[in-house]
């Protein structure tokens, strides 16, 4: 599925491509990669969030959080001409990397999943596909031309979403 330019998205980061190109973000653990796509424009964005809710006073880094990250990305897409009612989403990540006996680690991955789903619902974005939860790290590739996502894991077959 790798056609055209490949753009890498870091943690608390977002990139867009239009027409063709592949957006990739590596090693999502409890973090979530959210692919947003306007199929008419073939405009795609991938945002890599780390935490569920932005409660920072200064809000220097909106892309670190599910709520502000998704809204900021939607805003950037609309500036490029995307139409809200056409935008769809696919997500991957939200794993629990370490299984602990005492439960002292909390479950940031699960909270991220719930927050992402809720924010998408509030923003009226349809969530088409997801590969979330479990205990494995995921690398997510997103082809902006076809709108297809590909999830790569250690010890598991590639999954098309």
């Amino acid at each position: 599925m790798v056609n055209g330019n490949k753009l890498t998205i870091g943690i608390a980061d977002m990139k867009m491509a239009k027409g063709e190109g592949v957006l990739v973000t590596y090693a999502l653990g409890s973090c979530i990669g959210i692919c947003l796509h306007d199929p008419v424009l073939k405009l795609g964005a991938l945002v890599h969030i780390m935490l569920p809710v932005n409660m920072e006073a200064g809000r220097k880094n909106p892309l670190k959080y599910a709520d502000t990250g998704i809204r900021e990305t939607l805003h950037q897409m609309e500036l490029k001409g995307a139409v809200r009612t056409r935008i769809t989403a696919k997500i991957a990540g939200g794993a629990k990397m370490f299984e602990d006996n005492g439960g002292s680690m909390g479950n940031i991955g699960q909270r991220n999943i719930e927050s992402v789903r809720m924010v998408l619902r509030r923003e009226k974005i349809r969530l088409l596909k997801e590969d979330v939860g479990g205990g494995v790290a995921r690398t997510l590739l997103f082809d902006v031309n076809s709108g297809l996502g590909c999830v790569r894991c250690y010890g598991r077959q590639e999954l098309i979403i």
């Binding site: 943690i11 590596y26 090693a27 780390m50 680690m105 995921r138």
Partner: protein, 208 residues
Amino acid sequence: MEIKNYDELTSLELDTLREIGSIGTGNAATALSQLLGREVRITLPEVRIMGYNEAIEWIGGPEEITAGVLVKLSGQMSGIMLSVQQIEFVNLVLESMLQKQITDYAQLAELENSALIEVGNIMISTFINALSGLANIDVNLTVPAFTVDMQGAILTVPMAEYGGQSDYIMTIGGNFVCNEHEVPCRLLLSPDIRSLNFLLRKLGVNDG
């Protein structure tokens, strides 16, 4: 002065943390040496304050598969301590303890995992014992958790845990030298900001 973010640490405070790192990893190396029955030394300990993506590059790229042992600290100090075990280190342990070598993490079975968890846990406990003795603080440790997966995702565990406090991650740790070559055993301590202030105050370099 109380710091609010890792990048506000003064050079005196960083030197103090480097010293803690040196004593902690030194003790961990001694413990490792006894376990493996061979000499293990440490290279210069590092205290690093890195942006998220910088930290992932530093450890050797996001997708590289490694074994990770994680212990959580609580009590007078909270934080996460990780032993990130790349394949050279895994083989060093398996060769000494089980007379075995692997070429791929998929070859790890129950027994090998137990050995790696035990080694990681002993190094982490030794490090923390040295630290708590030095600063005279009580630290409780959880039972070690273990995974084999992409190291980028393993490293995001401490990042996400303290991500609401900071855009940076602080790590204290070092590499080991065994049989005259460097074995990249990453022993990483990521304290939260409140505990870092407490620790520095206890050590007398932060009078806030």
